[in-house]
Symmetry: C2
Subunit: 398 residues, 2 copies
Amino acid sequence: MRPLDNITVLDLSHAVAGPHCTYHLGLMGADIIKVERPVLGDDLRHYTEHAGLKTLSAPFIAYNTGKRSITLDLTKPAAREILARLMPRADVMVENFRPGVAKRLGLDYDSAKQWNPRIIYCSISGFGQTGVMRDWPAYDHIIQSISGVMMMNGSDGEPPLKVGLPLADVFSGYVAAFAIVSALLQRERSGGDGQYIDVGMLDALMIMMNAGIVTYRLSGEPPRRTGNLGFRLVATSSVYKTRDGYLGIGANHQPQIEALFRIIGRPDLLVDPRFADHAARMKHNEALRDLLADLFATRSAEELEPKLAEAKVPAGKVRTLAETVDHPHIRERDLFVTSSVPGLRQTVPIVGAGFRFQHDGPKRNGAVATIGEHTDSVLREVGFSSDDVAAFRAAGTI
Amino acid sequence: MRPLDNITVLDLSHAVAGPHCTYHLGLMGADIIKVERPVLGDDLRHYTEHAGLKTLSAPFIAYNTGKRSITLDLTKPAAREILARLMPRADVMVENFRPGVAKRLGLDYDSAKQWNPRIIYCSISGFGQTGVMRDWPAYDHIIQSISGVMMMNGSDGEPPLKVGLPLADVFSGYVAAFAIVSALLQRERSGGDGQYIDVGMLDALMIMMNAGIVTYRLSGEPPRRTGNLGFRLVATSSVYKTRDGYLGIGANHQPQIEALFRIIGRPDLLVDPRFADHAARMKHNEALRDLLADLFATRSAEELEPKLAEAKVPAGKVRTLAETVDHPHIRERDLFVTSSVPGLRQTVPIVGAGFRFQHDGPKRNGAVATIGEHTDSVLREVGFSSDDVAAFRAAGTI
């Protein structure tokens, strides 16, 4: 069995962080019941349009494949009749309303516990459920602004720069998934009650900054912005322009550096007193950088990449996302699962779990639900009659 | 009980990704037995030196607090006598040797299974255990080069830019932690055998790029590099220079934009036909950007931030990491756990789990072990006598 087979997740979240969390729970086997407001559904459906798809943006497909969708107007009193039947069957509930909204809707953890004391209830918000910023609204780039990450990305002296991925959104959703699976294991092993989990996007991003924070605590100085330099800050570990694109190289240790100098046709550098050992190279780091920049400008990244890798010098041609996803290595890694998208004849490959199990591993395929596609079937599963469903629909509750 | 109380992790990993993984398992309650080579220990100990600490770099502290350390020379035949006693007691084993090395050492999954069929064995490597790049060496910035992320970070027309965090290292370690906890839950629920988990840093980074990949698949175009623009690519959702630093603003929807224009003292823009609604603003996006840039240049980020947040316009002053960690909100969120560091009188605050549980949550404090600090006690726990330990030490096995 998969890790989360027969686990039901009631997903009241929208946008990115919450749906990204439950997408990964779904890959591990959970049944994700995505609750959307009637008519419009999740806002993310209406983001940029491609391939003529209405209400199915690319990010929505990426984060919502494999879920069932039901509509429910949580502001209607009759919504509670439906929740009263869904909650007891759910193992996990996820929401990413602004703090306080779930309580106003009568959906906070204290209410959920009345319906189901074993429920694991996870709230995801910008700043968490406590603290002076708790009520502040947030988007990914606002969290990035406040977190310090924009002052680590890029180079010293430059303006702040956002990380070119929705880092706070995507990572906080993944942190929530880790917390939820941990809580499920805790419940399973202790035989006890459920759990309440408070995930803040800003808090989660701090995980990524731990090494920088400790550096600051020990040295009194925030970490330098180091552009394209590798972790060791040496000129032999950086990114250089070649005649056919950019090449990342990572020669940190003496044997790697010897191999590098040999492969680029400059074994003489090994006996140049400026570059012969680590201490000398650190002293002449800028001279070495300029020398390497001139040298790589006349060479081919395409040719050097496999030669360096073969000689155990870490190296990688800088690729666009399009070049990467079609690379033979990525194809062999079998990273993608297929998404059946209403309105498209062909399935779309989307990134799956990002790791492999030897047995009973992550799900392979899924479909994107239309808004409320599973409302009727889910409501029938929890015991409502077709007359009940029709009445809910007539009243605008679903 | 905590989720991983009484779970033992045999951690043969070094550098960043593996130790970051087991750090988070330790926070959830697991006993982490870190295996280091005799004398030198984990390479990361010897990274940059601060506060006069030898063999205890800041990143090492960040990722290794709370673990026990034993020394073991895995190339010595007698190491197998020790592993034969440790393996049966371990629930999880983590390694991040290059693919093939564990097998050469007689430590691959097939060997581990002989000792303990219930073990969950996780390998972390640059490119995973299969595929044409499997044997290529990798560091964080090499994975970033190859993944496409350097061509998403920054702005169109600029050279590739590394994300200013060890994103591939840190995130792949976190993915491994998610995979391991999932496999522990799977083992607990199925009552079955263990699992083998293959985590590749490049694979893991693809999780972060899923929305961009689907955009590319649907549109045929890789996602644009958008600098500091927010997700919606509108001028009212970006980062602007003010007279006291930079300010991120995120006004995407009409009510947010109306509040923004009012608070910056330009309600007239609401009736300017160029900026009155979304379609008009998109048409005049650059004019609006220039107008906002001029306007913010004379205003104070410090003053505007709380006013905008109060009016439900997402906004955040761009902070350095040093400003963030000392912010009252972060202090109230109680994100940090303390690390007792040998050689320092005061404990060092390090980032903990990054989320909160209502009960039985992540561990609060820990210490950093010296190299092999727990060799004797761990060996005694698994039944070796003090004479045995002395003999292993004399032979250089530990």
